[in-house]
């Protein structure tokens, strides 16, 4: 027994010696191990409940910036259209939540986990349900492809995201790291997503609208309208700053959609229902 003990101790010493030797060679193995651990953490994917928790915080922040439009009929209408579109995707059962913000700015926002907001300023530029569907489907695509999470990662918040992935952050109790992460997530709207993520959301959005039975040209029609707005107007400043040029988006959609929707040539745009739902018919 005593002999065995000694052998173990000698082996341990032997194992420790090379470490000491390397330390002398200016390689900090402890630090290296920590780095490896961090990289592993960074690659850990956050799961769906964590994604929803983060998105809820970001959505709450957005509603802190602009209030909900006080019009239950319009809110319900947008939720009906949005949820129907989400059902045409591979994430139909997220807690999809749509809302119209009472703000004249022309913009739309998607947050992780299924939160989608459009401003009344953008809604006022639309002419049909197919156009609304196109815009909502574009935002839904950002959620499906987790573009927002990618943008947070790029914003050097990898470590906080890792903490979230590793369950180190809990929703209740007001963890300051979650607050930081949510702030970082809200700042993404001021910075914008990756240009290619916007193009991807455009080409996914037209397909999701068509899957829902809508004229797929609703989204390009809205983009074309936005192109006719005065770019110096403050209401379009942030949307223009955070998105690729409308001419580029329309050009890509033109190339990609051309000849693709042969079976969806005569899908409805439901313009009358749109006008009625938004109350314009009563005027």
């Amino acid at each position: 027994m005593r002999v065995q003990h000694s052998i173990v101790i000698i082996c341990m010493l032997g194992a420790a010696l090379p470490v000491a030797a390397f330390d002398l060679g200016n390689i900090d193995w402890k630090k290296a191990a920590e780095t490896v651990k961090k990289v592993q953490k960074a690659n850990a994917e956050i799961n769906e409940p964590q994604e929803i928790m983060l998105g809820e915080g970001i959505a709450s922040n957005l509603l802190g910036a602009a209030p909900l439009l006080d019009n239950p009929a319009v809110q319900q209408y947008v939720n009906r259209i949005g949820r129907w579109l989400a059902l045409q995707t591979d994430r139909p059962d997220l807690p999809w939540q749509f809302g119209v913000l009472d703000d004249n700015d022309v913009n739309a926002f998607a947050a992780p986990g299924g939160y989608v907001f459009i401003t009344k300023g953008l809604l006022a530029q639309m002419n049909s349900e197919a156009e609304l569907a196109g815009v909502l489907a574009h935002e839904i695509s950002h959620v499906l492809r987790k573009h927002h999470l990618q943008a947070i990662k790029k914003g050097a918040r990898t470590e906080l995201l890792s903490d979230l992935a590793n369950d180190a952050i809990q929703s209740n109790g007001g963890d300051p790291r979650l607050t930081k992460l949510v702030s970082a997530g809200t700042e993404v709207y001021a910075r914008g997503l990756d240009k290619n993520d916007e193009f991807e959301a455009d080409r996914m959005g037209v397909v999701i609208a068509a899957r829902g039975g809508y004229d797929p040209y609703g989204l390009p029609a809205v983009l074309q309208t936005l192109q006719s707005l005065n770019p110096n107007d403050s209401s379009v400043a942030l949307m223009f700053k955070t998105h690729p040029a409308l001419a580029d988006r329309l050009n890509l959609l033109d190339q990609e959609m051309s000849g693709y929707f042969g079976g969806q040539e005569n899908l409805p745009d439901l313009a009358p229902r749109f006008m009625q739902a938004l109350g314009a018919g009563k005027k």
């Binding site: 709450s60 922040n61 957005l62 509603l63 802190g64 910036a65 209030p67 909900l68 319900q76 009906r80 949820r83 129907w84 989400a86 059902l87 045409q88 139909p92 059962d93 999809w96 703000d103 004249n104 700015d105 300023g121 809604l123 006022a124 639309m126 049909s128 809200t186 001021a190 193009f199 996914m204 397909v207 068509a210 899957r211 039975g213 809508y214 040209y217 390009p220 029609a221 074309q224 192109q227 006719s228 005065n230 107007d233 403050s234 209401s235 942030l238 700053k241 001419a247 329309l250 959609l253 959609m257 079976g263 005569n266 899908l267 409805p268 313009a271 749109f274 006008m275 314009a280 018919g281």
Partner: protein, 164 residues
Amino acid sequence: MKNLVALCILFGFVPAVWAGGYAYTIRPTELKAQPYSDAQTLTTLPPQSRVEVLKRQASWTQVKSVSFSGWVKMLSLQLEASGQGKRGDNGLSALFNVAATGKSSSTVTTGIRGLSEEQLKNSKPNPQALQAAKRYAVSRAEAQRYAAEGKLNAQSVDYLSGGQ
């Protein structure tokens, strides 16, 4: 124009695009007699041809000028900026009290809230508003019912490859 709007509303018909907007062609563009590819080509419009926009139907826009009328591919057009920075008027701007320029009244009254870059960076959470928003969430069954009411038929369409 006002009469046209009144008539449209009276008969429950709302055209996708109100008449009165103008656009110009951004490339040589075939003018078709009907809104489909193998319809008769009436002429080819050179780039920068100015046309009046009548209405849109799927990927086609009906246009006219003093010398012609017909259909062109919608994305061969760029809409002209109108006086107020907006093409036509669908009636919603007035309804929502959206000003042609400037910020929303809510921004003016609170002085802090809004969706500008700075305001987004400094926004504070509003959990009450989030709970209020959640009241409007719609179930799968309700979404399907409303789609059926609008005679929407789900289609099977693959995602575009994006040239990959």
